[in-house]
Every structure is written in C-alpha cells, then in structure tokens.
C-alpha cells in the first residue's frame, strides 16, 4: 500500500490486501536500519486471518521516501499521520527495538486510537554504545557488522533456520546495507535520546506485551525490567536462547505470542 504522508510517499506492506475498515488493524513498526520485511511472516499471517496488517517502512527506510526522522517523538507523529491517511481509527501496534519505542510513544500521543502495544526486543531507556554511535556516524561498515553479531544469539550465528535455506546472518546485514548513509546513525540517535519511555509507561493504560530474547545483547531483558514495573497492564514473555532478532530467530514463537495477545481485539468492534 502506498500512502502520502507529509507530502512524501510512504509504504506499508499489506500482503496485497486493501484496507477494510470493518476489520481490526495491527500496525507493525520496524527497528533501526530495517524495513517492513522483518515482519514478513507475522504480518502476512495477520493479513490472512481477518486483520488489516500494515507493516510500515519508516521515512528514509525501504520503500518510503524522505529523510529518516531524528527522534522517537517525530516518528510517533509520523505514524499518527500515516494512520490518518490510511483511515485507521483504532489499531494495535507491534514494534521491534526502535520501533517498540515508537509504538510506546504513539500510544502516549494517541491513546484513544491505540488498543494494545506489543514491544518486541525492547529496552526502556534504550541507550546505544559510543562505539555504535561513532561508527554509524562515520558510515563505517563495521557498525553493521557489530550490530549483526550483537543482534543474533550464538545459536543463530550458526544457523539451523526454520525458513528453508535462509542464512539470517547474511540477510540481516544485507538489509542494513540497503539503507542510505546516515540512516543507521539517525535511528540510533533517536533511540539513545529517547527519555520519555519510563514516564510514558506509567501513563498509557492499554495492555502491553513485551517479548524479549533471553540472549539479547542489544536490549537485554534486564533493561526492560524497570519499564515492566511502570506499566499499568503488561505481560512479559522471554524466549529462551534468543537474541535481538526475535522475528527471524523464533518466527513462530513471536507470531504465537502476538496471536494470543491480540485475539481479544479480533472480537472487539473495529
């Protein structure tokens, strides 16, 4: 689906479906230097199971035009405008890493439209190391290589993928390489500078689900513990032996956790 947001082309994967206002909606938000395709299996499932599934490409990522936005607040505002353009009156949000912060912030800005929020591979706050900030600022390929190693569990670095024939270490780095110069650094800066998370967690009343990787080095489970205490209604699932790339390392476990979390919405009025 192609939309126009702030005068620029914005893309959302819908598995080829047109938006149906009679169906519940789930909106997927990717992480730093990624795009909609990280949700390929999960978003396709919901699109074929009675939902409007919109997996967006944030500005400057994937098929969406424009420069990457430099703060989580700006990204959340952009998501709000995209929902306006698409005709989304109520939706669940699912975000990964940086996208999880955008989902949280969107729920803060627009509580009446957000029914539920799933934060996958998250930490609140989400500080980024100096090494990653400096190498990404220099557009040094080492930044991608470091993320690739830190984002995958030791097990995933060997493989044994559920998706036939797919080498996820290779596809993850190729996806990052496709983003333009400066995109990764802008995304990391947005994560690093976001200070509103713990406060937001106390204010948003809708149910939250946190799906965390036990072996996640980018956003270790302990980094989400404080936020979990702050949420009014939150459930946490920790996937054993899993790193930060939860959707590719454990695609079915992530999907099953979302199905369980969102099933209430499917019976609720759109």
């Amino acid at each position: 689906m192609l939309l126009t947001v702030n005068g620029q082309k914005a893309y959302a994967y819908t598995a080829g479906h047109t938006f149906d206002s009679s169906l519940p909606t789930v909106l997927f938000i990717h992480g730093a230097a990624n795009d909609h395709s990280v949700w390929a299996l999960q978003s396709r499932y919901f699109a074929y199971h009675g939902w409007n599934a919109l997996a967006v490409d944030l500005p400057g990522h994937g098929r969406s035009e424009g420069e990457p936005l430099s703060s989580v607040g700006e990204l959340a505002a952009w998501i709000g405008k995209l929902m306006d353009t698409a005709g989304v009156t109520r939706t669940a949000l699912v975000g990964h890493s940086m996208g999880s912060l955008v989902a949280l912030e969107t729920a803060t800005h627009d509580p009446d439209r957000i029914s539920r929020v799933a934060m996958i591979g998250t930490a609140i706050p989400m500080p980024v190391t100096d090494a990653l900030l400096s190498t990404s600022q220099a557009n040094d390929h080492v930044a991608y290589e470091m993320i690739n190693v830190y984002s995958h569990s030791a097990r995933a670095q060997i493989g044994g993928n559920r998706v036939p024939g797919a080498w996820i270490m290779g596809s993850a780095i190729r996806l990052m390489e496709r983003t333009g110069p400066g995109v990764l650094h802008t995304d990391f800066t947005a994560c690093n500078d976001y200070e509103n998370g713990l406060d937001a967690a106390t204010k948003v009343k809708c149910p939250f689900l946190l799906v965390l990787g036990q072996r996640d080095l980018m956003t270790p489970p302990r980094s989400a513990a404080k936020a979990v205490e702050n949420f009014v209604d939150a459930k946490t699932i920790v996937l054993d032996g899993t790193g930060h790339s939860l959707m590719s390392e454990q695609p079915d476990a992530v999907l099953d956790s979302l199905i369980e979390f969102l099933k209430v919405e499917q019976t609720a009025p759109a």
């Binding site: 074929y48 493989g159 044994g160 036939p164």
Partner: protein
C-alpha cells in the same frame, strides 16, 4: 574500530546451518528421508502453504536436510540463502527460468562447461531465450553484446578449458551499469578460493558434485543469492517485482527485500520444474563440505607441485595454469585467486593422440574418467574421449589439441602422484 569476531570459514564449513538434533541429540545432520510433513492442525497447514509460518510442506520444495546444506553454502559464500537442486545444470536452469521469459537474452562467456554451453546454444533457443557468447577476457565485448532484452550476464570463475580467469569486478560493473545481475559458475573455485559476492557477483551456482562433495558419490547443485541486487530499481524483472498470479498475487520484492529471487525460485521453480535435490545427496554433499577447507588446501598444494613438475618436463609442450607467468590471466589470477587457481588444468603432451593414449593407459593412481573435483586424482584425454569425433581443425577451434590432457588433481600423497605421472610420461614418449 576493529571488526567483531565471527565464525571463520572452517568452522562454518562444519557447523553452519545445523544444530544438534533436539530429539535424540544426534551430532551429525539427520537425513530427513521423507516426502512430506505432518501438520499439527488445518490452520497451521494453511499458514505453511501461504508462507505465514516457517517450515516444510513437501520435499520437492524444501526439506530439513537440504535446508541445512543450503544455509551452509550461503554462509560460506556470504549470501542470504540458497537452494539445493538436482544438479549443477538444474541450478543454472533454475536461475535462468526465475529471471526471464521467452524473448529474453543472455550474454555469456564463451569459455563454458560443455553442459552449460549446450543449454544456452541449443536448448534455450527452443524456448525463445537466446545467448550471445563473448570472449571472457574482452570486457567491452560483454558490454557491446547487451541488448534491451538482456536479462543476465553469465560466466565461470575459471573458464573451460583454458582456465580463463573471469574478471568478476569488471564484468559485474558492466552488468550493474546495464541494470543486470551477474551470475557466476563457481564450481572450480569453491568459496574457499574465491567469494564472488565480495567481488560484485549477484548470483552463484555450483555443481556440488565436484569439489563441494569431493567424494564423487552424489550429483547435486546449489544456487546462492547474494541479496544485493536491486530488482525493483533495475525495472527489468517483472517476475520478481510484479504480482504473481501463481501465488496469491505475491510481489516477491515486497515480500522479501533481500531474498526475492530465492523466494520465487523456490515457490515457482522448485514447485513447477521440480529439479530438487534428494535429501540423501544433500547429506552426502554436506559430508564433503565439512572438510572443504583442508581438502582445497591439499588440492592446491598438490596441483602446484604437479604443475611445476610438468612445466619443466621434456615430454610436455606446455601447461595451462593461471599461476604460471605464461598464462594470459596470470596477473589477474594473482589478484582474484591468491590462494590458488583450482585443481583442474590441462597440459599438452608431445606426440599427439598416440602419446596421449599411452600416457593415460600407463597411469596407475590417476583414474581415467569424465569428472573433475574428486578427492581422487582424475585424468582424461579429450582427443580420444569427449572430443574423439573431431579432426585436428575442430579440436583447435575448441581450444584442444591431439596432445591435450586434462587433469583433476586429488589429495593423495604428492610423491605418489608425481611418480605415477613421471612413469606415464616416459611411457608416452617411447616409440
């Protein structure tokens, strides 16, 4: 900033793509000798068919043993994934059938394995796909042969029979300027000697029958996607960038940013053409890949010794090997193949067909057969076997003479190979 530590080639050769069996703890890759897989429920079945969940449905399309091999070769090549096929020829056909239709055109190196040449010269034209063959050393010839309907540039990393070294970076540049992908046949070099994706190639295929297996017991092919080529930007590949009626209107480039090619190749090519690899063959080829590094090292050590021996021998007119200064691609080989130029090469024996016949029949360790890339040393005399119908002029046109002998050097003790060769050379020169 230093690079983070990642697993090295020999570790990936042994482990990539495989975790110990969760049910019984088997360390070796289990052979999933099954055509099909039980679905837990109907929704799960539908989700597998519709690519909403990861897993296997039917072994023509995917199989856990094959998948482990596919991941392993993708890891070794630095790609995003791979597809195992019934043979190297099936891998080449799958690549072509995924990318183009009747009316399309290929620009290919003229220095190709005979099977690839036959496919492009004689068979594909019947289906409306034409090929222009060019001198692989003439980069401008690749560029000049590109037409509006061209969809692929193709060459072998080491050409046949003259071991022409394909200048992958320059040919890739020509291809990319025209919005085209470069496919290379990397059978002779394997990822141990060259990683073509690092040099600019977009797709790689192997006849896994050769060095990857190394044992000469299993036929198979592997098609690997580098994941860098932008099919949308090129605008020449509607099979990937436009809705496919054969799979719910799926647009493969939207479905997968980096692996659209493999998605279509598996979901259409394996489904419809069906040239899949047997899981038994996948297992056997994996046994070979586990020792690829040490074997290739030994192949190269032995080859270098035999090349040096032959190059200095009175019974030999000349040796064709890119590490020799006499080879036209010597300088390029130093740059692209610093760890060796493979273990298959030819030399010209003094004395023509009669000497060739005596040489072959005097060998005791080398096996006289039509294959390459085995751990055992192999030999063939084209003028009395593969090209026996040709007269001298026709042989010359094929880059072969009556005295040409092709060797595939194995990993036996080098002294035994040298002694075998020395005895056979002496015998070949006796009148």
């Amino acid at each position: 900033m230093s690079k983070p530590k990642t697993y090295q080639f020999d570790t990936l050769s042994l482990h990539a793509g495989q975790q110990p069996d969760t049910q019984f703890g088997a360390r070796a890759q289990p052979i999933y000798y099954t055509t099909s897989y039980v679905f837990p429920d109907t929704d799960h079945a539908a989700s597998l068919f519709n690519m909403e969940r990861a897993g296997h449905v039917y072994s023509r399309i995917s199989n856990p043993t094959n998948s482990a091999l596919e991941e392993r070769i993708a890891a070794l090549e630095g790609g995003v994934g791979a597809i195992a096929t019934a043979s190297g020829q099936a891998a080449l056909h799958l690549a072509i059938a995924t990318l183009m239709n009747a009316g399309s055109h290929i620009v290919a190196s003229r220095s190709l394995y005979g099977g690839s040449h036959n496919l492009m010269e004689y068979t594909l034209p019947r289906f409306g796909i034409d090929t222009t063959f060019v001198d692989p050393r003439d980069i401008d010839a690749f560029s000049a042969a590109i037409r509006p309907e061209t969809r692929l540039i193709f060459g072998e990393t080491l050409g046949n029979p003259g071991l022409d070294v394909l200048d992958v970076p320059r040919v890739a540049e020509v291809a990319h300027q025209a919005g085209l992908p470069l496919l290379v046949d990397s059978t002779f070099t394997t990822p141990y000697l060259m990683r073509p994706f690092d040099l600019g190639a977009d797709l790689i295929f192997h006849s896994a029958t050769k060095f990857l297996g190394g044992h000469g017991v299993a036929i198979g092919g592997l098609l690997v996607d580098g994941g860098k080529f932008d099919w949308d930007k090129s605008g020449k590949f509607p099979t990937l960038s436009e809705p496919y009626a054969g799979f719910h209107g799926m647009v493969f480039t939207e479905e997968s940013t980096t692996a659209a090619f493999l998605l279509r190749a598996r979901r259409e090519g394996l489904r419809d053409f069906g040239a899949c690899m047997s899981p038994m063959n996948a297992f056997q080829i994996m046994q070979g890949v586990e020792t690829l590094g040490p074997r290739m090292q030994r192949h190269i050590e032995n080859t270098r010794k035999i090349v040096a021996f032959l190059d200095a021998h009175d019974a030999v007119e000349h040796v064709v090997y890119p590490e020799l200064p006499s080879h036209p691609d010597h300088e390029l080989a130093k740059k692209l193949l610093p760890n060796g130029c493979g273990a298959v090469f030819s030399f010209e024996l003094k004395g023509g067909r009669a000497a060739g016949k005596k040489f072959i029949e005097s060998l005791k360790v080398f096996s006289h057969l039509a294959n390459v890339g085995d751990a055992k040393s192999l030999v063939i005399h084209p003028a009395t076997t593969t090209h026996y119908r040709m007269d001298e002029a026709a042989l010359r046109a094929a880059g072969i003479t009556a005295g040409t002998v092709r060797l595939s050097i194995g990993i036996e003790a080098a002294d035994d190979l040298l002694e075998d060769m020395s005895r056979a050379l002496r015998a070949s020169q006796k009148t």
